[in-house]
Symmetry: C2
Subunit: 213 residues, 2 copies
Amino acid sequence: MTLIKPSTSTAHPTPPTSATTRMRVEDRRELVITAAMAVFGERGYVGATTDAVAKAAGVSQPYVVRMFGTKEALFLAVLHRAVDRLLTDFTAVIDANPDSDTEQLRLGLGNAYGDLLADRGLLLSLMHAFVAGSDPAIGATARAAFLSVYSLLRSRARFTAEEARDFLAHGMMLNTMVGMRMGLEIDDPVARELVECVSPINADLIVRLATDR
Amino acid sequence: MTLIKPSTSTAHPTPPTSATTRMRVEDRRELVITAAMAVFGERGYVGATTDAVAKAAGVSQPYVVRMFGTKEALFLAVLHRAVDRLLTDFTAVIDANPDSDTEQLRLGLGNAYGDLLADRGLLLSLMHAFVAGSDPAIGATARAAFLSVYSLLRSRARFTAEEARDFLAHGMMLNTMVGMRMGLEIDDPVARELVECVSPINADLIVRLATDR
DNA sequence: GTCTATAGGGCGATAGAC
DNA sequence: GTCTATCGCCCTATAGAC
């Protein structure tokens, strides 16, 4: 259930970051969700402002609210988008490796996760939702998202409960490294060892994501 | 690296400075930090208000600000308290088992972690700090806290890098379960399997922490 | 459909009494 | 040392023009 459509505005000479650019309503909605994902990932649900999302998307703040009704509804839309991408990418890996054993699948899914990590907003928005369980709507969405990924690993990828648990635990750890910008401490030998140990493949990415912006 | 002075020091008979003040300043400070830990754990750094902390501690909101200077300074005090408790408890387990092998130590430390989990505010305040790396001061404190725990596992507990990584990853996963209140979904067989798999010992606790309040 | 202007409410921090 | 009162800012959401 991919919600993203190929944007027709790629044919425009100027990137669709300005409100003056003619654009389909759906595309503009996509644009706002993408911008919101980055902002929510950066500042969290409460810390993010609809104004920051608006500025990032190149539209006015009231228009952002108008499109989604409330800030919370916008965040929920971001969460749905995030988990949708996660499930889509994981499913693609699983389907592309019908005869793989668990270890091969684990590596493939790990790579897919690393690719998703490159868009810091996606996994960090999810992470913020995970710790924001005190908000009923956000908590419910977060739990459903987490369980859907767990279910995918268990049924489609045929992981055991322990394999799925360890895979997800490792993912939480990676998210945490990016969230706290551990890459900033890469000159500390202890931090370097930790980062390299958590994910040798994504160590450089973790450093880059920490120094960005 | 103990950052806290023992508040229970009854070295000198508390001289009440005023008739209405029945508590030493230090004790009141402790009281506010404890209250703040619960509030920050519940609502996160941005979501928590100094007024909620004040109400929980039974003092006025301006007094909370005056004691710590700023809300951020209060949060940093909470973080220092949290990591201090973590290090203290872990060190006690390590020192109590000088001849234990890694597996025994892992179990002992896991139990200590479960005990800390019972105070939801402690680990969730840390968790909120971990994803709030965009704030420079909070991010720096969060990274230092994480690295100090990792170092403890590596040097004092003599874990390998992989053992320390897996232990911490498992901890992040537990925090996440509590933060998103996965215990609310315990009637869902999938959720139950997940919770029991993550920590059979603490499954009941996870459910209780989710339904509290 | 998208904007400007602004209402309305909440929050961190300050001033000052006691 | 601790309170009450309050300021001033920021943010979500609404109203209404174009």
